[in-house]
Symmetry: C2
Subunit: 153 residues, 2 copies
DNA sequence: TCTAAAGTGTAGCCTGTGCTACAAATCCAT
DNA sequence: ATGGATTTGTAGCACAGGCTACACTTTAGA
């Protein structure tokens, strides 16, 4: 095994992460958070289209518990980011990128909920907490969750 | 002109939460997120004071990876919320409420990291993801995590 | 000591995400 | 077919949380 110098993830003797490491972690958490809302919208729009044939701003707003104005403003951001399209008064649609994001989030959500249930979290808390947790689960962590679930069925 | 198909609110049997339930979940996730930054600051300030005797805005900023101006602005918010006090050019201190919050977050962080490690998440990913996840772990979920860790040592 | 570097604080700007209020478009029932 | 209800869209506000730029205080070294 090659000797290793300090690198990402190293904590010092007191258990505290090194300064640049911690800064990077917080930065990534901020980035994850910045995308959380778009992920929620994409997933919800996909669900609405799948179950009802269309996704209307008012439906989206009701589901998310925000005003329709807020929903419309965020839909505009989805469009700017290339995740959705919308024709005035005719509903919202996902682009390929938006659809892919929605499917990723849907799978992620299910795995997170299943993992929480598996370790003994009550169902209601699992659903609630997964809503916030899923946006912070990296691919590595998701893979570990999936492996854990597969290993102990 | 597409005929109107299903109306809003027609939640089906396909496993989707009812509309008010989902709205409440999203709302709680938003609330949790709104407190996340204050929690991070409180925990970090407690760590800095514990290990270095004082918490300076510039140190806080470096640790979090933001500009010192941003840190100072957030410290002002901590003061408004009754979590911290500060004397100009003399560092930041936690109130009792702030100290209690910091200790809660510290314990929460450790349990989340341990849980992630226990289910097989790589150490680096566990530390990174815990930074975002910990703010969305409810008391019920935290208790379940602790029980899981205690049950299978 | 006294000046330069470092740290601290303030001001002003941007974006994101929420809101209410109002205007325009669409839908539906009479 | 048309008018009222609903939906959609727009405008404007607030606040959080980023930033840079600049001014002031403290600290430390020559």
């Amino acid at each position: 095994m090659a000797p290793r110098t300090a690198q990402a993830g190293d904590d010092d003797a007191s258990g505290m992460p090194t300064e640049p490491t911690q800064a990077r972690r917080f930065g990534k958490a901020r980035t994850a958070q910045a995308h959380a809302l778009l992920e929620d919208y994409a997933e919800l729009i996909a669900d609405l289209i799948a179950t009802g044939g269309e996704a209307r701003p008012t439906d989206i707003a009701r589901r998310l518990g925000v005003s329709h104005a807020t929903a419309i403003k965020t839909i505009a951001r989805l469009k700017r980011e290339g995740l959705a399209t919308a024709r005035p008064y005719r509903g919202v649609f996902l682009t390929e990128a938006g659809e892919a994001l929605a499917q990723r989030m849907k799978a992620r959500h299910r795995i997170v909920v299943d993992l929480l249930l598996r370790v003994g979290v009550p169902a209601e808390a699992a659903e609630q907490d997964a809503e916030g947790i899923e946006h912070h689960v990296s691919d590595a962590t998701l893979a570990a969750f999936a492996a854990f679930l597969a290993a102990k069925p």
